[in-house]
């Protein structure tokens, strides 16, 4: 791959701008390694917390038009047990950043989890203040700029590693939350997590997801995510990682023009399998070559000139 594709986010060097989004496949070291071997520039793990969680009963995932609805409920083995999965991976695949997504039910819990995650070798942390379907965490924190600021401050005070904040679109003004996070010390912003949504089966007249309400991902939310990245780019100086419905290289370029320095891929793996990382990377590379740009940096936020 060419140098055109190299990006650096908050000190993390990546060979290409594609990252595995949190929540997808990131529960075991071997599956993260498989994603890396299929060309991801960096990987974000499933969100881990202080204690293990089973998550919600099934159905936890249902397909809807243009998107996917899920309410997994933050299943994870707990940050301490996750060490085992990450340690080996770190040795085998040095050079590809491994970003631990963490959640907590309070700013203190976030900080405690962050400290353990950093110690176990995470290259960076992504704070999940945006999961839309678990009470007392995720977007219940992420909807309050002051709570987000408190979480970021507490985490930054205990870890030296770069800290990204993943934001929820389920707010009136995402810019306000982004600004609060950055002011508190966030090194990058990831936008966006899933959009609160639901589906009802008309035969049984029941909500399909066991949790009734879940988060919508996939192509359906891409325009929402592009708008969020665009708005945040005008308001903050830290790098933005675009996430939400990215399936093709054209989607990736669109996010970069809106202001994203890198992009995350999740739901597209269901339709395009793990080859999606290489196909997006190749497409972005030939776009840059064809349009005469020497680096991804040169197109980040270009749509703001108009």
């Amino acid at each position: 791959m060419s140098q055109r594709l190299e990006v650096e986010i908050a000190g993390l060097k990546m060979q290409n701008p594609t990252m595995l989004a949190a929540g997808i496949l990131g529960l075991s070291g071997a599956s993260l390694r498989e994603v890396i071997d299929n060309g991801a520039g960096a990987v974000v793990t499933k969100s881990v917390g202080l204690k293990p969680r089973e998550g919600y009963p099934n159905p936890a995932v249902v397909q809807v038009n243009c998107g996917l609805l899920n309410a997994m409920g933050l299943p994870n083995p707990g940050v301490r047990d996750f060490v085992e999965e990450i340690r080996e991976l770190k040795q085998e695949r040095a050079g590809v950043p491994i970003i631990l997504s963490i959640y907590g039910f309070s700013p203190e819990e976030f900080a405690q989890t962050a400290r353990i995650a950093a110690k176990m070798g995470a290259d960076a942390l992504e704070l999940n203040v945006s999961c839309p379907h678990v009470k007392k965490t995720g977007s219940e924190i992420g909807q309050s700029p002051s709570l987000v600021a408190e979480v970021v401050r507490k985490v930054k005070s205990v870890v030296e590693k770069p800290v990204m904040v993943k934001l929820t679109p389920n707010v009136a003004d995402i810019v306000e939350v982004a600004k609060a996070g950055v002011k508190a010390g966030a090194d990058a912003i990831t936008a966006i997590n899933t959009v609160r949504a639901m589906a009802i089966d008309i035969e049984t007249k029941q909500p399909i997801l066991a949790n009734k309400i879940g988060g919508l991902s996939g192509p359906a939310i891409k325009p929402i995510a592009v708008r969020c990245v665009y708005e945040i780019y005008e308001a903050v100086d830290v790098p933005i990682i675009g996430c939400g419905g990215i399936t093709t290289w054209q989607d990736a370029v669109e996010f970069m023009l809106a202001g994203a320095s890198a992009i995350q891929i999740g739901t597209a793996i269901a339709s395009k399998n793990l080859g999606v990382f290489k196909s997006v990377t190749r497409g972005v590379d030939s776009y840059l070559r064809r349009t005469g740009f020497r680096s991804i940096k040169d197109i980040v936020g270009l749509s703001h000139r108009c």
Binding site: G23, I24, L25, G26, L27, S28, A30, S31, R33, E34, D37, K46, P52, R53, E54, G55, P57, N58, P59, A60, V61, V62, Q63, N65, C66, G67, L68, N70, M72, P75, N76, P77, G78, D81, F82, D201, E203, T204, Q206, I208, A210, G218, P219, G266, T267, I269, A270, S271, N273
Partner: protein, 278 residues
Amino acid sequence: MSAYLTAASQLRTVRILGVNNETQTIKSFIFRDRLAAKASPGQFVMIWVPSVDEVPMSLSTINSKEGLATITVEKVGEATGKLHKMKVGDVIGVRGPFGNGYTLTNARNVMIVGGGTGLASLAPLVEEMAQHKGRRVTFLLGAKTCGELLFQERMKTVFATMNQKIVATTEDGSYGTKGLVTEPAEQLLAKEKFDMVYACGPEHMMYRMFVLTERFRVPFQASLERFMRCAIGLCGTCVIGRFRVCKDGPVFSGDQLREVKNEFGYFRRGFNGRKTAV
């Protein structure tokens, strides 16, 4: 309708058209679903039991002519318990078929090893094989006791048309040879040259068959079972090594299993990602 993802991964609600009591603890449920009826042997579906759960199930009949499919369910937990109470006309949800089924090769001398409800996914494979003459099939069937041997009539009908040999074992000796199905399998493998071995059943049995086929250098395929959620390769619940059972399996080749031999037969992951012994 959007072409996003595939029609197969959308949830359909279907009515149960028929219920068969197979054994005291196993029932079959027949439903009409065009997509499930087009599955290949060994693929699986996700069955939604409204208000209770959604669970992965093998298809035990695949009838593309009439658009019918069947799941064969052992009563083991909440979802299967609720299913066992369901009657003709009740509604269940179906997603799939998902994953890779058994690969039919031009192998001439084939061994099929089924244990317990593992027969559910093997029965359509046997019926498919019966369509193509010139193959010799040795069928090894294992169960705890005589009453738990599945599809005896159905298998007799298929086998009547085939060049075959059947060996049945029960752990209590109430039918066939007393003992585990892997014992006659080992004897046969030592005696005879097989071109392919298929297995579905308890993981210990499949692991033993894997070890035997490695020793006797026979190509192998086995259908694995893991906890599942999304069934479309995203959530990571069903991972074994670098593979996702829902997408890369559920049927794996001996070559693939060799890659995960520290995990296959030893542990599976719970919904929280933690390892538990198989």
